[in-house]
Structure formats: structure tokens, C-alpha cells
Symmetry: C2
Subunit: 264 residues, 2 copies
């Protein structure tokens, strides 16, 4: 069982960037960065003080691990072009099955970080849940060992469950952020500043770091306050889409709430 | 212009509790806690090391400020019973007009803390936005001065705008927490642990502490990834309500996104 020491990053987006930085911190080497886009490849290679290429043919085959960290479409495209023989290859996508990787190598797996990354924010990679999967026991051990150097939250998750996690992540991240957008828009239209909501947003997320979300649920729908639901419905007249969303979500909260009450 | 030194808390819920604690920290006195429910009144009075009553007639009239921190319905009920003459009275509700208070005093206003409070979590009150309003310039000054001792984020907000803030807070707090509930449920049904999503939830809220939510929006709907939207739609077959919510929210995200693109 060989250790993973030298890595090639295929992709130069947010995930590749944060992974690359975290890998270097463990003392391992990023041999090369590949991206179709020269500017991106160059930028990340500079940040990591390594080489880059935009030519799939020029990808350095000496690495112990190739990390595909590109869009889902690009994964499907690149696996056809990349023959890595027996070299270990993983992708970092939440929604693509592991099996697409058999086209490029005999040894493959998944390294899926369950976090939202932005170039402008540093992330404590050590607390990012890393979901791993591999096509053999040996490869799983190899990958787990590598992942545990990056994060203290490594979990084995098969492709089916990974897709569920990815779906849940849309509800945990993308939809809450959309809700922040709606709030921002409603405030802006009345000359109010989004800044006023920031402590509330943070505390709402902090609460469920300890509590389960059902214990943390508050608000007019949760306590069945029909007067406020009615007032909010009127206030949302100018926003037919958000009015409908408010109604649907309030109904769903009522249903959840009565379900909890039955079990209580 | 007299300073506010002695306060009576009318109500003993989460808001009254955190307000009471914050007020005591500034060196002011909570003379008394009133609540209809003896257990609640006693519990908060104990915490604040003060007196309590459950009899509206026995409310101590010597205070400089009476804070009504009860449910919206209870506000309407108690203002009819409470004649405070010229004593300053405020309520802490996001959705009730200031004018309901004229029934109990000539001097009245609002002290609305824009935060979600739970008994089990301590809150840095100093960073809680406090929205103030009053029925006269003098009362506004008095209240602002008092509020600024409690928080460094005091803003004057009229009743109409306060209702908008309260509506926006539902989108910023109650609906995101509902989304966490959906995620929790989907994971639990597949034997996956909500714990895995906690870092993502926190980072999503952290991002908009700096960025505007439109800059932070990510996910399949935001980038128009039809393949994933389709897959998630299939995964949600067992959850017809959440499937519909997923669809509605994804459509709304697409609309927002194309609106931003037009302005870019």
C-alpha cells in the first residue's frame, strides 16, 4: 500500500483551490494544475507555487493521485480523454456516480467535501466533512488515510447516499441563501438595510449547531399565529412569487409541527 | 428628561429573559417581573434576583419603564387592563403597531430586538439590532439613550417598516430553519446524520455576514444545471411537498439570477 504524496489537480475552481491549499498544508506536493482555461490554471498554479497546463495530453502522469474537481459536465468529458492506467483518480462531485471513473483508471474513488467554498473566504478544512468511496478495499484505505490528514471528519459514503447528501445540501445551503436574497430584496424596496438581519441569520445557523432543527423552529407558522400569517400575506401582495412561497412553506411548517406534536 | 433606571418586565418568555439580563448588566434595576403564569414569573424573577407577580393589579407602578414582552394577543389583552398614566411603556413585538399602547399611557414606544432568542443559548446583546420608535421626540431620545446602553446597533424604525423587518426576519430565520428541517428529514430517512451538514449551514450564514446574498448564491438552480435539477426531482418522489417546494424555489432562483444578469 503506497502513500499518496504527489497530486495533480484537474480543475482550478473553488473546490480545487481550497483542496490544493489544504493538501499542501499536510506537506504533500501538488505537482501540477490542469484547467481548460489558461487564466484559471495559471492563477491556481501561482497560488500553489507549482506548474500548470491546459493540454490534457501534457498532464503529468507521475502523480500518485489525480483529483478531478471540475463541473459535472466536464467530468464526463475528461474521463474519455484521460487514460491513467493504474493511477488513482478521484472526483469531488456530489452528484456523479463513482463508476464514471473506470474509463480512465483501474483505481478510483470519491473525495466529496460537503462545504460551500468561495475564493474570497478561507475555510478551516479540518472541520469540512469529507465523504470518501473507492472501488476496492485497498483504495478505500488509501483514500481514507489521505483524507484524514485533511480533515477530522472523514466518512465513508456510497454513491447513492452521496447523492442524498448533495440534495440535502441544496436545502441546507442554496435555499437558505435564496431566503436571504428574498429578505434583502423586501428590505431594499423599503429603504431598509440587509445589515440589520445579519446577526439573526448567524444566530439561526448557530442554533442548529447544537439543537436539532425541529427544536429550533420558531415563527408565526410554527406557533400557528394566523393573524401574522394573514398580515404577511397582505404585505407580500407586490411579490406574487414570494407570496406563494411564503404560503407553501408556512403550510409545510404547520404539517411538520403537527407531526412532531403527534409524536410528543 | 429623566433617565430610565427602574424597569418592570411584563412577560417572562425568551425576549423578556434576555432583555432582563442585558438590562441588569448596564447597572439598571428590574423592579419586578409580571407573568400570567406563576412558574414563568417565578423562574425569571429568580434568575434576575427580583420580585414577581401574576396579578396585573399588583404591578409595581414606581418603575420608569414598563416593557411588554408577551405574545401579540396578550399585548392586546393587557393594554386594556393596564393604566400607567404618564409612565413610559414599550412593547417588543415586530408586528403590532405602536398605537395600541395609547390605551395604557401617554408615553409609549417600541423596543424591538431583531434576533431569535432561546432560553438555552446566551446572546451577545450588544450586537442585537434594536429598533426603536416613540410617540414623541422626547420619548424617542429617552428610549434611544436607554437602548444604546444595551446594544451598539440602535435604529429608529417606524411601525410600518418594523412590520417589513418582521416579515423579512421570517425569510431570514424561520424559513432557513425549516430548510434545515427538510434536510434533516431526508438524511434521517437514509440513515445519514444531520451533523454532516452543520459546517455547511454555518458557512452559508457566515458568507452573507460579508457578502450580499446575491453574490453568495450557488447551487444547481443558480447555475442552471438541468441535469441535477432533474435528478433531485426524482430523488424527491417520496416527498411530494418538498418536491414542489424544491421546484418553486429553483424557479425563483432562476428568475432572480436572470434579473441579476440583466443588470450586470
Amino acid at each position: 500500500l503506497n502513500e499518496i504524496q504527489n497530486i495533480v489537480l484537474i480543475g482550478a475552481g473553488n473546490v480545487a483551490t481550497h483542496l490544493g491549499l489544504a493538501i499542501q498544508k499536510t506537506g504533500r506536493s501538488i505537482l501540477q494544475v490542469y484547467s481548460r482555461t489558461k487564466a484559471s490554471a495559471m492563477q491556481l498554479a501561482n497560488l500553489l507555487n507549482t506548474e500548470f497546463t491546459c493540454d490534457p495530453e501534457a498532464i503529468n502522469r507521475e502523480a500518485d493521485l489525480f483529483i478531478l474537481s471540475v463541473t459535472d459536465d466536464a467530468i464526463r468529458e475528461i474521463v474519455g480523454k484521460l487514460n491513467l492506467g493504474q493511477k488513482m483518480v478521484v472526483h469531488t462531485s456530489g452528484s456523479i456516480s463513482m463508476d464514471v471513473l473506470w474509463k480512465c483508471s483501474e483505481n478510483f474513488g470519491i473525495l466529496y467535501p460537503l462545504q460551500t467554498f468561495s475564493k474570497s473566504r478561507s475555510v478551516d478544512f479540518n472541520s469540512v466533512p469529507l465523504c470518501v468511496e473507492a472501488n476496492s478495499k485497498d483504495n478505500l484505505h488509501l483514500l481514507e488515510h489521505f483524507a484524514k490528514e485533511l480533515s477530522r471528519k472523514v466518512v465513508e459514503v456510497d454513491s447513492e447516499k452521496r447523492k442524498i447528501l448533495h440534495l440535502a445540501a441544496v436545502f441546507a445551503c442554496n435555499f437558505p441563501n435564496f431566503m436571504y436574497n428574498v429578505a434583502d430584496q423586501i428590505l431594499a424596496d423599503k429603504g431598509l438595510n440587509f445589515e440589520l438581519l445579519r446577526p439573526l441569520i448567524l444566530e439561526t445557523a448557530m442554533k442548529v449547531q447544537e439543537l436539532k432543527p425541529d427544536e429550533a423552529q420558531t415563527g408565526p407558522a410554527s406557533r400557528g399565529d394566523k393573524m401574522i400569517l394573514q398580515k404577511h400575506d397582505e404585505l407580500l401582495r407586490e411579490y406574487p412569487d414570494y407570496r406563494e412561497i411564503y404560503k407553501k412553506l408556512s403550510e409545510a411548517i404547520r404539517k411538520l409541527k403537527s407531526k412532531w406534536e403527534i409524536y410528543e
